[in-house]
């Protein structure tokens, strides 16, 4: 077994160092070394797209890249998509459109869709389908995924802020109102 290698990379905005065996894929490093298990293993042959991450601005299957190849690269994973207090518009639209059923393919779709919208903010349906053709979903028939990506593109283009609060429960205002109501009851 070859010795482990120290790799430096920027992952989700953080400069980090990790140790990996030369034979470990980036996906294995993300999941087993860095505990970023949002990227999923569906095939290990680059056919399903469940492990899609964005490396230096390009979407790729992290199962097809070695961990050592991450040296000096900037990598975005699904864990880095939301802001601390707000979902990314794609995440919000996936929820609103019920674009996920089991959810295993969702991280990969989100990253492929983000890479698409980063380079083409106004994609046609055909362009969306082409950009997502490397990601397999077996639950949805893709209909609601394509709609969510189109809607996200439109929202971004219109400059609106998506309404997505981090957490689908009541908002802070709603909670305050409820608290006051309950005080009245007592």
């Amino acid at each position: 077994m070859a010795k482990k290698v120290v790799v430096e990379a920027n992952i989700n905005g953080e400069p980090i160092e990790f140790l990996c065996e030369p034979r470990q894929s980036l996906l294995e490093v993300l999941r087993d070394v860095l505990e970023l298990t949002g990227s999923k293993e569906g095939c290990l042959t680059g056919d399903c797209g469940a492990c899609t991450v964005i490396v230096n601005g390009r979407p790729l299957c992290s199962c097809l890249m070695l961990g050592v190849e991450a040296q000096g690269k900037t990598i975005q994973t699904v864990e880095g998509l939301a802001a601390p207090d707000r979902l990314h518009v794609l995440q919000q639209k996936f929820l609103e459109h019920a674009s996920l059923q089991c959810g295993i393919c969702t991280p990969g779709f989100l990253m492929s869709a983000k890479a698409l919208l980063d380079r083409n903010p106004k994609p046609t349906e055909a362009e969306i389908r082409y950009a997502l053709a490397g990601n397999l979903c077996r639950c949805t028939g893709y209909d609601k995924i394509v709609r969510a990506v189109a809607d996200a593109a439109q929202t971004l283009a219109s400059g609106q802020q998506p309404a997505g609060h981090l957490g689908s429960g009541p908002s802070a205002t709603e909670q305050t109102e409820r608290f006051l109501q309950e005080q009245e009851v007592k």
Binding site: V78, R138, E182
Partner: protein
């Protein structure tokens, strides 16, 4: 308010809230089985047979066990030998020796990929290296790959102990079962018929194709208890079957269902789970086993390939008179194909006076089949629904009208005998007939439109539910049904509806086998129906208890308290109506916490029907079929969360289109699977499909408090036949084999051209 077909007004049901587990699933936080890690955890790998059919003469594991980092190596000898007969495991009757031998081959390997040994090591790579050091001596036998070969009198025998009733106790056979369904007199029926169509169909073995491979983490405690974390459709099934295979008391195993990355029926049995426990027991560490994609395709349970001979006849005015069907399904290496379901679904949408169906369950050297979305029904419908289309064409009747004329209604006898209660088949055909899609004009060369229908039984079975009221008046719903596509949201909506709460004030929780009463699989389209029924009753139990508390506060009798629109009220001076939130703050003073509970063994399940219309364009040069447009109408009883109901309809349609056009197990002459990856096992991508239009039809299931019908399966049934009918109308060839991949369609087109040229030549000479 969403008005229901049975006259109720719903406040929550029928709306489209964001699912409660959504945030976790779009941020990567949701934990699927393979995402679980534990301190000291080891990694397991499985050695699999490179032969389709062979006797295991010996297995030597010494070299593998000696590799640094390897902590244990196991074979079938480490599992208890189980009796070769049907036995109860929890609620299921199974042949336990078959179950065990499928998990780890004993004496014989019966398919390419059959497990023969397993290793646990400190890293997955070391475990893989160790597999290469295990020496297995095989005596290779001839493989039996098709039902035709397997049913020949001199066929090699897969299971020496297998017998069937007809051939008797002394005759080894590959035919596990012969079922027959009979009504009227088919010969008489065909005599009366003006048109008779008879064809033979072949459909390929196909896989569910869930994106998440199987996984399991086993943790064995020295006190004899074990915990299994895994992605399964049925945590209680994993518990009872693993206990049986391991020879452990069922109550000593706790199964924690992880999030599940798709199942479609394929995750209703066990493969890795007992092995993870056994390896953990041997090593004293938690052991994680995950399958590769090749392992999933080679060694889990796809659905049967089949041969179906179907003959149907009708009068010239379109009245179906007789159907005679012979069908044989590949069970895989052990008995248990869904041929019985195939037989009972194949003409289920129709009222046919004369019927004779012979159905055979046949073992072949392929992986043991498992359930796949309406198991057995899609390949069956490929036969019957294309013949229905031909008969309609011969009569000159619109295919929708032909189906409406002959369609099953309340009172029509089912294939197995008893009449249907209220069903919505005709309504689905009418919905398609009235759809913008069907009314639109399809123009252009090589384009055609096809219609087909499908039936699925749906099941009820057992479910348990707990509804807890928190002191702030919010609630939690605890269930044992894993959430495979919106279950949590639907269950929370049902509780919120009953309790008069906001849906976001009800938190749904899927829990482990120790924390909730027995709950059968998330399968058979049963979860919204049966678990939903349990949640409904548990929420009603909460209402009953809350009425008692309100009565106490108001010094009334509980029956004097009424509850509607989220408010408790009673007649009397000074009584101010109270919400659940108000009451919840007073529970401690009126008798303590409130939990509602209910269990159901749900009877009176409502069967599901779907009708689908698909437009295609066929490339005459390559045989490639492009799907131009697809619309599916399905009777769902009552849609709880319409978006997820549509999702089921769209997803089933997409899988049915994959089955129709591309998906297929390719075995070579030695019985080795040649397409073990998702590049060659070709499932539909985003680019292969159009938007899938949906018509939700709501004919409530009689007897269910919310009228729910299962929605998970039936939409997969019509597409193969709908695509075949569309191809027939596009290019004039009747396809009889699945998948209708470019080579098969091209072959059919070329032979049609050859026939036409020969006819022209004959006419010219």
């Amino acid at each position: 308010m969403a008005a229901s077909p049975n006259g109720h007004d719903y406040r929550v049901i029928g709306t489209r809230p964001v699912r409660h587990d959504g945030i976790e699933k779009v941020t990567g936080q949701a934990k699927y089985g393979a995402d679980y890690n534990f301190p000291g955890m080891l990694y397991g790998k499985i050695l699999r047979s490179p032969y389709a059919h062979a006797i295991i003469k010996s297995i030597k594991v010494d070299k593998a066990a000696a590799l640094p980092g390897v902590k244990a190596v196991i074979t079938a000898n480490d599992l208890p030998a189980l009796p070769d007969k049907m036995e109860q495991a929890g609620e299921m009757a199974l042949n336990m020796s078959h179950l065990s031998a499928n998990i780890m081959a004993r004496d014989k390997v019966l398919y390419d990929g059959h497990a023969v040994a397993a290793v646990a090591a400190t890293s997955p790579h070391i475990a893989e290296e160790a597999l290469r050091l295990i020496e297995v001596d095989y005596e290779v036998l001839p493989p039996v790959m098709s039902v035709e070969e397997a049913m020949k009198p001199d066929a090699p025998i897969l299971l020496p102990g297998l017998r069937n009733k007809e051939e008797g106790p002394d005759k080894p056979t590959n035919v596990a079962t012969h079922l027959q369904f009979k009504r009227g007199d088919v010969n008489e029926g065909f005599k009366q018929a003006d048109y008779v169509v008879e064809r033979e169909f072949k459909t390929a073995m196909v896989h569910q194709g869930y994106i998440e491979p199987h996984n399991a983490v086993g943790i064995y405690n020295p006190d004899g208890h074990a915990t299994i974390y895994c992605s399964t459709q049925g945590s209680f099934v994993v518990r009872s079957l693993s206990a049986a295979v391991l020879g452990m008391p069922e109550g000593n195993i706790k199964v924690v269902p992880a999030e599940i990355g798709g199942g479609f029926g394929g995750k209703t049995t066990i493969y890795l789970e007992p092995l993870s426990v056994l390896l953990s027991k041997k090593t004293g560490h938690p052991v994680k086993l995950t399958m590769s994609r090749a392992e999933v395709l080679r060694a889990t349970g796809p659905t049967s390939g089949s041969t179906i001979r179907c003959k149907m006849g009708c009068s010239k005015d379109g009245k179906l008179l007789a159907a005679q069907i012979w069908m044989a399904y590949e069970a895989g290496a052990f008995p248990g194909s869904p041929v019985g379901a195939g037989a009972m679904t194949i003409v289920a949408p129709y009222n046919i006076p004369n019927l004779l169906i012979d159905a055979y369950d046949v073992v072949v050297n392929r992986p043991k089949t498992a359930a796949y979305r309406a198991p057995g029904a899609s390949n069956a419908a490929m036969a019957s629904e294309t013949i229905i289309d031909e008969l309609a064409e011969k009569c000159g009747i619109d295919p929708c009208d032909f189906r409406i004329m002959n369609g099953a209604r309340e009172g029509t006898p089912q294939t197995a005998g008893p009449p249907y209660r209220r069903i919505g088949y005709i309504e689905t055909v009418e919905a398609i007939k009235n759809s913008p899609h069907y009314k639109s004009k399809l123009e252009g060369p090589n384009r055609g439109r096809g219609v087909a229908s499908g039936f699925w039984f749906n099941v009820g079975l057992q479910s348990s539910a707990i509804v807890n009221i928190h002191t702030d008046g919010t609630a939690s719903v605890v269930i044992g049904s894993v959430d495979i596509g919106g279950t949590r949201a639907a269950q929370a909506m049902i509780a919120a509806e009953v309790l008069g709460l906001d849906v976001n004030d009800v938190r749904p929780l899927v829990t482990d086998t120790d924390s909730i009463g027995h709950t059968d699989v998330t399968g058979g389209s049963r979860t919204a129906f049966a678990t939903g029924w349990a949640v409904y009753e548990a929420a009603q139990d909460v209402v009953r208890q809350l009425k008692e508390r309100a009565a106490k506060l108001w010094e009334k009798k509980p029956e004097e308290v009424s509850f509607a629109n989220g408010l408790f009220t009673a007649q009397g001076d000074g009584i101010k109506p109270m919400t659940i939130k108000e009451l919840a703050g007073r529970l401690a003073r009126t008798g303590g916490p409130i939990s509602g509970r209910a269990t159901v063994n749900a009877r009176g399940v409502g069967p599901a029907f779907a009708t689908t219309v698909i437009d295609v364009e066929v490339d005459p040069d390559t045989g490639k079929v492009q799907i131009l447009r697809a619309t599916v109408a399905q009777d769902v009883g009552k849609a709880i969360h319409p978006s997820y109901v549509e999702g089921q309809m769209q997803g089933g349609t997409a899988q049915g289109i994959g089955w129709a056009l591309n998906e297929e197990y390719f075995y070579d002459e030695r019985g080795i699977l040649r397409n073990t990856g998702l590049l060659d096992y070709r499932m539909p991508t985003c680019l292969d499909l159009p938007m899938i239009e949906t018509c939700i039809v709501e004919v409530p299931t009689p007897g269910h408090p919310l009228g729910i019908r299962g929605v998970g399966e039936v939409s997969i049934v019509p597409p193969p036949a709908a695509v075949a009918n569309a191809i027939a109308h596009a290019v004039g060839v009747r396809m009889t084999e699945l998948p209708m991949s470019p080579p098969r369609v091209l072959k059919a087109l070329l032979s049609k051209r050859t026939r036409a040229e020969a006819q022209a030549a004959a006419a010219g000479s």
